[in-house]
């Protein structure tokens, strides 16, 4: 950084550098890219959830107008997607590129039609006839584990991908000493990320060099390359993956998909580029699902409502196949680790089972298991408050980790670095006007209205790296990110980073960091990402890691480049290196204001006047560095949310009236972007809380495959937000930065459930334990509360 000044960009509400092109309609998304002689692909998908595959009649389709080829499973049988966990007893699934002898979910691709354009490919896809003989379906994650359930993969003992159990040594003793216990069962509906851009890819194969180029809608270009290399048995140096502008990801674009492999294989076979653009109905049935958790949690506590021990069973419906690169254990592992959340809980026992069913495979979605974990622990804490007759804020005050508890070694083995939980709780009570709301509630009830307040505090595990992913048993440990910083002869910088920006604004925030460290203006820094041929190896953007890890890598690389600048400047100015100071645009000699040289001049010397360089200095102004934030179990952002709702007693409709957030993600690189991330996450969480659910009929037919029957929040479903920030730096990370991309989406289910329960609490005491809170479910809770002979 310009060493004598405060940072010019870090901490500022800088306008985003990518906005101009996106606002003008000049973004370049995969579907916008046209390659010469490209053919269009359309997938024929199974209408059965579970069936054996007989003959597939493709003759008529192959003869149809404009059709180049129709591929079926036997054409691609050499390739498959396997993602194997290192957990003992993990049962391995192999997902075919196109179904071979069996389909395991409705929507699984069974054939691929390639034609001159999308219209002709869709016409021909209608002419492919597959002989599918239905098999018994497994649709419920508890039923899937019954001994009588059909086992979905050959050679498996049952439908559990794996079974895991973890218990602290003092758990049993703590339980026997506890005076009270409460057990609740919780259900989170299956739903998904649903970015506005569907998936798309274009595969090109160069027969001469035997190289693939895949343009694809992904958050993780290097991992996609790694996955393609494994799936097709091709070395990585023959594969280039390019993720250009991507229209939202939120996790669903962080897995390798069979369609990507199929397009590569078809491009090699036909010698022409193959373009596939998913339509929305396909996205609902074939892009990975998420969030379907079923938990049973028991809290053991004392008379004061202090939690002594926590016990949990966690089951997640992972669908038909283990996904690359996460395996089928991701959500389970995350939930088992983070369930104790923000509370000072020492003793913990948890069992976890990721379950295989006849549903779409299950991948990442913003928050990965943390929304379900937050829902469970926060609903439990509310029940403890109810049991002990305590205010919900008070029971949290008694249990939250305090400022002196860090570093906190959680009973699940995580190390929480720092936080401000009690302060964030008090701040959100004040920001949301809690005391006034309690009065407002009394008035509302007097008028017969159902008005409720929800409060939640939580931690967001972010930027977890080597240690965490090693424990998760994933085949690739996502330990670090990489950045290369290069100054060119004109004195401008290129930052190449292994992360991807699909809305998070990293193209801007990494430029802010680099500009500060290099003493440049923001316009003099260009950030590039997304092309495996252009940027160094790394994992990509997920798990709220990019600002911390890529930000740290940019800092390190920029500082290395500055060290070279200083060496050359010292030679040029005939001063000692230690006396050279970096200022905005210049390098100066300490104490001699007139002895200085422009950064751009030093850049010119390095590349164009090698005779003026000091001995031993090469004509290069670049550095590539990685950063893995040790100890690797993450930097812990914390937040508290407060929301009010009104429930219509006649229709069961829940309206979110207000929503307040106090977030502490450490020092903010760009508060405007931080707020955008929080608001966007909360809106998605409101979808989780009230609307979003993939429904199936008894045969496994998806009932939610359009925006008419799968509702996501629109502008009138989401209120204005109130937000305030705390900034507790992480002692573990460069710059004290913590991640925050997922936090907004973690709490709303828990907050709104708490508010709805509160709205009904004067009628009776139903435990709101299921999401989303559709009108039907809310009416059922109202009935339960008011039933004669009911709880009150």
């Amino acid at each position: 950084m310009a060493e004598t000044e405060a940072p010019r960009f870090f901490g500022s509400r800088v306008s985003r550098v990518q906005d101009d092109r996106l606002l003008r309609g000049h973004g370049r998304y995969v579907a916008d890219i046209e390659l010469p002689r490209a053919l269009a692909a359309k997938f024929v998908r199974s209408y059965e959830a579970h069936a054996s595959v007989g003959d597939i009649d493709r003759d008529e389709a192959a003869e149809a107008d404009g059709v180049s080829a129709v591929f079926v499973g036997s054409d691609f049988v050499e390739s498959e997607i396997r993602c194997v966990s290192s957990y003992e007893g993990f049962q391995i699934s192999a997902q075919p590129i196109l179904a071979v002898d069996r389909v395991r979910f409705a929507g699984e691709a069974i054939a691929m039609v390639v034609a001159d354009d999308e219209y002709l490919a869709e016409d021909a896809a209608e002419m492919v006839f597959a002989d599918l003989s239905p098999l018994p379906v497994v649709l419920d994650l508890d039923a899937a584990l019954e001994p009588s359930a059909e086992v979905l993969h050959d050679g498996w003992a049952d439908n559990a991908y794996v079974r895991r159990a973890v218990k602290t040594p003092g758990f049993e003793a703590a339980v026997s000493g506890a005076s009270h216990r409460v057990t609740i069962d919780l259900n989170n509906a299956r739903h998904g990320a649903i970015p506005m851009e569907n998936r798309a890819c274009i595969a090109d194969y160069d027969r001469g060099t035997q190289r693939f180029t895949l343009y694809t809608t992904t958050q993780i270009p290097h991992l996609i390359r790694a996955g393609l290399a494994l799936a097709m048995d091709v070395p990585e140096n023959r594969i280039r993956v390019i993720a250009p502008d991507v229209g939202g990801g939120f996790g669903v674009k962080a897995q390798l998909y069979t369609e990507e492999v199929a397009c590569c294989l078809a491009a090699r076979e036909l010698g022409r580029p193959i373009k596939w653009v998913e339509d929305r109905r396909e996205h609902f049935v074939a892009a990975h699902h998420s969030r379907e958790h079923r938990h049973r949690v028991t809290g053991y506590f004392d008379d004061d409502g202090r939690i002594i021990a926590l016990e949990a069973d966690i089951r997640v419906d992972m669908g038909a196949y283990s996904v690359f690169p996460w395996t089928a254990t991701m959500d389970n592992g995350m939930a088992m680790g983070i369930l104790p959340g923000p509370y000072k809980i020492h003793e913990y026992s948890v069992t976890g089972t990721p379950v295989c069913t006849n549903k779409t495979p299950y991948g990442a979605y913003r928050g990965v298991a943390r929304p379900a974990a937050c829902f469970s622990i926060e609903r439990l804490v509310d029940q403890i408050a109810r049991h002990r007759g305590l205010d919900r804020a008070e029971v949290r005050r008694r249990n939250l980790l305090g400022p002196d508890d860090y570093p906190w070694h959680s009973p699940s083995g995580l190390v929480y670095d720092s936080g401000s939980l009690p302060e964030s709780l008090e701040s959100v009570l004040s920001l949301g006007g809690y005391e006034a709301l309690l009065t407002q509630q009394v008035e509302a009830r007097a008028q017969g209205r159902l008005f409720g307040i929800g409060i939640v505090a939580f931690t967001e595990q972010t930027a977890h790296t080597t240690q965490e992913f090693k424990q998760r048993g994933v085949p690739i440990v996502f330990g670090y990110e990489t950045a290369k910083v290069r100054l060119d002869a004109s004195g401008t910088a290129v930052v190449s980073a292994s992360i991807h920006d699909h809305g998070q604004g990293l193209e801007t925030t990494l430029a802010q960091i680099a500009a500060d460290r290099l003493g440049l203006d923001l316009e003099q820094v260009r950030v590039e990402y997304g092309d495996t041929n252009q940027v160094a190896y790394g994992a990509g953007t997920f798990a709220s890691r990019s600002a911390v890890l890529a930000g740290g890598a940019v800092t390190r690389a920029a500082d290395d480049v500055v060290a070279i600048l200083k060496q050359v400047a010292a030679h040029d100015l005939e001063a000692a290196i230690d006396d050279i100071v970096l200022e905005t645009g210049r390098l100066s000699v300490k104490g001699s204001p007139n002895a200085s040289v422009a950064i751009s001049e030093i850049c010119r010397l390095v590349y164009q006047r090698p005779e003026r360089l000091p001995k031993g200095v090469e004509s290069s102004l670049e550095a590539s560095r990685t950063y893995d934030a040790e100890p690797g179990t993450g930097a812990y952002t914390n937040a508290a949310h407060l929301s009010t709702v009104e429930v219509d007693p006649m229709t069961g409709k829940t309206e979110v009236l207000s929503y307040a957030i106090v977030e502490d993600c450490g020092p903010m690189i760009n508060p405007m972007i931080v707020e955008g991330q929080i608001f966007g996450g909360v809106a998605q969480g409101i979808g989780t809380a009230l609307f979003e659910e993939f429904l199936y009929d008894e045969n496994g037919q998806p009932l939610s495959s359009t925006f008419s029957d799968y509702l996501i929040p629109t502008m009138t479903d989401v209120p204005d937000f109130a937000v305030a920030h705390l900034e507790t730096p992480s002692p573990f990370t460069i710059g004290g930065i913590k991640g925050m991309g997922e936090g907004g989406a973690i709490a709303p289910g828990a907050v709104i459930a708490s508010a709805v329960e509160d709205a009904l609490s004067h009628l009776g005491e139903p435990v709101v334990n299921e999401l989303p809170l559709t009108p039907e479910r809310v009416l059922a809770y109202i009935d339960e509360a008011t039933a004669p002979g009911g709880p009150r």
Partner: protein
Amino acid sequence: MREITVTINGKPTSATVSPRLLLSDFLRQDIGLTGTHVGCEHGYCGSCTVHVDGASTRSCLTLAVQVAGRAVDTVESLAPDGEALHPIQQAFQDCHGLQCGFCTPGLLMSVAELAGTNPECGRAEIREHLAGNICRCTGYHQIVDAVERALVALREAQVDG
């Protein structure tokens, strides 16, 4: 195949199209205006919104042949290349009213219509008017900020002009 003549972003354009070609595909693939995005193809998400004779229209539910003889304006019409951003676009940048940018062109066209039909509306009316444009990234708050700011800027520009 049919011959059509359409005025696209002010420029008369003739083309030969299949009767079943969607307006969205016509604009994106035949004309090369890829700013119009397709998010659902069933008229729900609003990403593909363009103006036909000045009225906001779902281009994914419109056939190219239906706009023969009419004027179609896309997001690319708001700020011609080389010129400053349109006040609506500028407000979106200033207020961080976009993240991934995919829904943004459709939203901008809906806001442009709102600015013409109800230029003095407040936050609640803005939300009502734009409820047909889904954004999955922003949570909408900063979009509403941006629209408020844009409407003020456009009113001030009118007074000044």
